[in-house]
């Protein structure tokens, strides 16, 4: 009974505080958004899904993910928060309104604590945390509690939600295919 309770506690801690499990050797798989601009068509379904999930309306201007169209180069690039481990926004916040979601690793803004000072928007090197004048708070990607709506809505798999330790896997795979000279020589 006592052992069972202890195991349960460890499990709970591991589940909610993956960083704490570092020393235990046990971890749940953390996942990251993986973005492949080469597959993006610029349709903005990600922005629609993001704004609908967070705001309850379809409103790309309130999306936490943004697609950039480099028209003259024929390129579309989705961009959003990469959830830095040592997040600049989190460290810069004077009221500790930004915290780590233990389950997903996402950096989450508490609307109750945020005072809208925007210091985080200056601190973030990537511009992915922004002020929302409608609420007076900042908004950023929170990985939708581990089920990102943008990845679900993307029709071309330009945005996927994959093992955080292997976001480079697909790129490695495609280069691996090109690298196997023996097979290519046969073909």
């Amino acid at each position: 009974m006592k052992a069972g309770w202890l195991a349960y506690l460890v499990f709970e801690m591991c589940a909610h505080f993956p960083r704490m499990s570092f020393n235990t050797g046990y971890n749940i798989m953390q996942k990251s958004l993986s973005i492949d601009p080469g597959k993006c068509t610029g349709c903005l379904q990600c922005e629609l899904a993001c704004s609908y999930d967070n705001e309850g309306v379809f409103n790309p201007s309130k999306s936490r993910i943004k697609v950039f169209n480099f028209h003259d180069q024929g390129r579309y690039v989705p961009y959003t928060c990469t959830q830095c481990d040592e997040a600049w926004c989190m460290h810069a916040c004077p009221v500790d309104a930004i915290s780590v979601d233990g389950a997903t690793g996402a950096k989450i803004v508490s609307d109750t604590l945020c005072v809208g000072c925007k210091v985080c928007t200056i601190a973030c090197p990537f511009g992915t945390i922004n002020y929302n004048s409608a609420t007076g708070k900042v908004i950023k990607c929170d990985l939708c509690e581990g089920e990102p709506e943008c990845a679900k809505a993307c029709p071309t798999d330009a945005i996927t939600f994959v093992d955080a330790d292997w976001t480079g896997l697909e790129k490695m795979r495609s280069w691996a295919a090109k690298t196997d000279a023996a097979v290519q020589a046969e073909a």
């Binding site: 629609l48 309850g56 409103n59 028209h71």
Partner: protein, 615 residues
């Protein structure tokens, strides 16, 4: 919800901008966009008005689904009396402008009167301002869009503008948004130019909501799956664009060639989707760079292309060496086969110029084709053309004329009259391949009979986007009919016309109908909008819109005599291909169509029909 329930009315003569509530009773009868804006035009203007007079109005309109996450739901239309046709005009465009208008809180913007000096309209949600446009007047749509964003330090503005073609009165000028999407046909850009309105720039951040969100998300999600799993919308269009049709239609023997003298083009494969994907010699890259989507579109048929840097058109002109909107099937046909030109880079260049200066590649290309025939017949000489050797197959003549037409200069200004006025001017009216003044698109009605009836009865003049029976007659969607048969085509055309009016009015793209039936579309509209939008009601709405447009044209002075085709299609038999020996059997289809529509033998809707449709 779904509708913003708000209209912006801009009086250019007085310089006033006021908002007013959307007439929800009309919205319940005409849905939105094409249908609803036409209702406003019918109620507020005289159908006999000169299209270029201040008394004509120009309406930019979204549909109730515009701005939602339904696939392709970013469309908007420009509705007015067409400068090219004198008929009701509704030109539909994708890109991202429509969504922005809706997010700013407007279902439509109604432009009235004429500004004393060139202006543009700047909208930031409720803040609306007419601003002097003299610094942009005389410049291209590309420069205008770029310049307005820079001037207001707002890269997120969405801009729709006219180029020099629209300012100079080219009869088939368009309104271009997002650099290379266009409300293309019937001269809606010409009307905008006549109002001294250079551009509309919008930033909208209000958001769009729907009536029954859970039902809507369910219907939208299943709609997206249908598009993804369909061969045309899931594979063909994303990979090859509408250009997937070039070789198909050529083999069908329905590719109008050299001003419809021929029905198959020996150079079709040189200007096809396959050719666009072929690596070129100079840099090893293909013409097609990637595909692109309009707002919310999960099909992504758009083409992004580059021109071979060594090609004569762009050699020392870096501004045309960057990527931009590439050839769609219609443009590739009109600039290519219609003139017998098979130089892919020249066509791509001409297409860039059409976007840059804002004019319709279909009407432009077809008019060049008519001019080439007159040149070969000796009616036109280099004296009139300013030295241009206007021979069929001449890429140089095509690209030279594109640049001249875009600026309204030299013989380009005469091309800018459109084929009807140009051919009349030189005494050869029979060489204009048009209906109600608007040039044919890329399907020859001798090889695809249903399209003959489609063109003859289209409310905006010859057009494939009013009832795309090619889907049934060639592709077998929803079911295969024989393209060489006239039997049963009246009912087919009517069904396509009504359904298309619904799709347009909802704010969706008609390309979805390669995969979607009303069973897929209906639930999305019904969940988004208040009121009962059963499929039955939607089809009645489509029929109501069609009859309203018809009545507008009748009041404007059109009669059943205008529901016809050029003699070439009715009398000169196709020379080659499966349709060899055939003419278009319009005389068999038209009476049947009038009857099916509930119109008199003179093509006038009967009182009974009007009452049934609550018109």
């Amino acid at each position: 919800m779904a509708w913003a329930r708000n209209i912006l009315r801009v009086n250019l003569t007085q310089g006033t901008c006021t908002s007013e509530p959307l007439n929800m009773e009309w919205a319940g009868k005409y849905l939105g966009q094409r249908g609803l804006a036409t209702k406003y035009l019918v109620e507020e203007t005289d159908p006999k008005v000169d299209p270029l007079s201040p008394d004509n109005k120009l309406i930019m309109a979204t549909g109730p689904l515009t701005g939602t996450c339904a696939s392709t739901a970013g469309r908007y239309s420009v509705i007015t009396k067409g400068a090219l046709t004198g008929a009701i005009a509704c030109s539909n465009s994708g890109g991202f402008f429509g969504n922005e208008m809706k997010n700013a809180g407007y279902d439509m913007i109604i432009f009235e009167g004429r500004a004393a000096n060139p202006v543009y309209l700047l909208i930031n949600n409720d803040s609306v301002e007419l601003i002097d446009a003299s610094e942009f007047w005389g410049t291209s749509t590309w420069n205008t869009e770029d310049g307005i964003k820079k001037k207001h330090q707002d890269p997120l503005l969405r801009v729709a503008s006219i180029g020099v073609a629209g300012e100079k009165g080219v009869k088939f000028a368009c309104v271009v948004n997002d650099m290379d999407r266009a409300a293309g046909r019937s001269g809606v850009g010409t009307v905008m130019g006549s109002k001294n309105l250079k551009a509309v720039a919008i930033r909208g951040t209000k958001g769009v909501s729907v009536d029954d969100a859970p039902a809507f998300m369910k219907a939208v999600s299943s709609g997206k799956s249908v598009l993804a799993e369909n061969g045309v919308t899931g594979q063909g269009l994303p990979a090859f664009g509408t250009q997937v049709l070039m070789n198909v239609i050529n083999e069908t023997g329905a590719l109008p060639t050299r001003n419809h003298r021929d029905i198959q083009f020996e150079g079709a494969s040189d200007i096809s989707a396959e050719a666009m994907a072929e690596p070129r010699e100079s840099d090893g890259k293909p013409n097609l760079m990637t595909n692109a989507a309009c707002f919310g579109c999960t099909i992504a048929c758009g083409r992004v292309s580059t021109i071979d840097r060594t090609h004569y058109t762009v050699k020392d002109r870096p501004e045309y060496q960057k990527a931009s909107g590439g050839l769609e099937y219609e443009a590739a046909w009109a600039l290519g086969a219609a003139n017998g030109v098979n130089d892919l880079d020249a066509l791509t260049f001409a297409n860039f110029i059409c976007n840059e200066q804002g004019f319709d590649p279909i009407s432009f290309g077809a008019t060049v084709g008519a001019a080439m025939e007159m040149f070969e017949d000796g009616v036109l000489t280099t004296e009139q053309t300013g030295g241009i050797e206007l021979k069929f197959g001449s890429a140089e003549a095509l690209t030279q004329l594109a640049e001249l037409c875009g600026k309204g200069e030299g013989f380009g200004a005469e091309i800018g009259l459109g084929s009807k006025l140009l051919c009349e001017k030189y005494g050869r009216p029979e060489l204009s391949m048009s209906v109600k003044g608007q040039e044919f698109p890329a399907y020859d009605s001798r090889g695809i009979q249903g399209m003959g009836l489609t063109y003859a009865t289209s409310n905006r003049g010859a057009c494939h986007l009013r009832s795309y029976t090619v889907a049934s007659e060639i592709l077998g969607i929803p079911e295969k009919t024989d393209p060489l048969e006239t039997d049963g085509k009246a009912g087919l055309v009517m069904a396509f016309q009504d359904a298309t009016a619904v799709v347009d009015s909802a704010g969706l793209c008609v390309f979805t109908t390669f995969a979607w039936s009303m069973d897929d579309i209906g639930p999305q509209i019904d969940a988004a909008c208040e009121g009962d939008w059963s499929i039955e009601n939607l089809m009645a709405c489509g029929e109501r819109i069609w009859n309203m447009e018809r009545n507008y044209n009748l009041a404007a002075g059109f009669t059943n005599k205008d529901d016809t085709l050029p003699a070439r299609l009715l009398k000169d038999a196709a020379k080659t291909g499966p349709a060899k020996g055939k003419v278009c059997g319009l005389d068999k289809m038209l009476p049947e169509y009038y009857q099916a529509r509930g119109w008199t033998t003179e093509g006038v809707p009967t009182n009974e029909t009007l009452n049934r449709l609550a018109l």
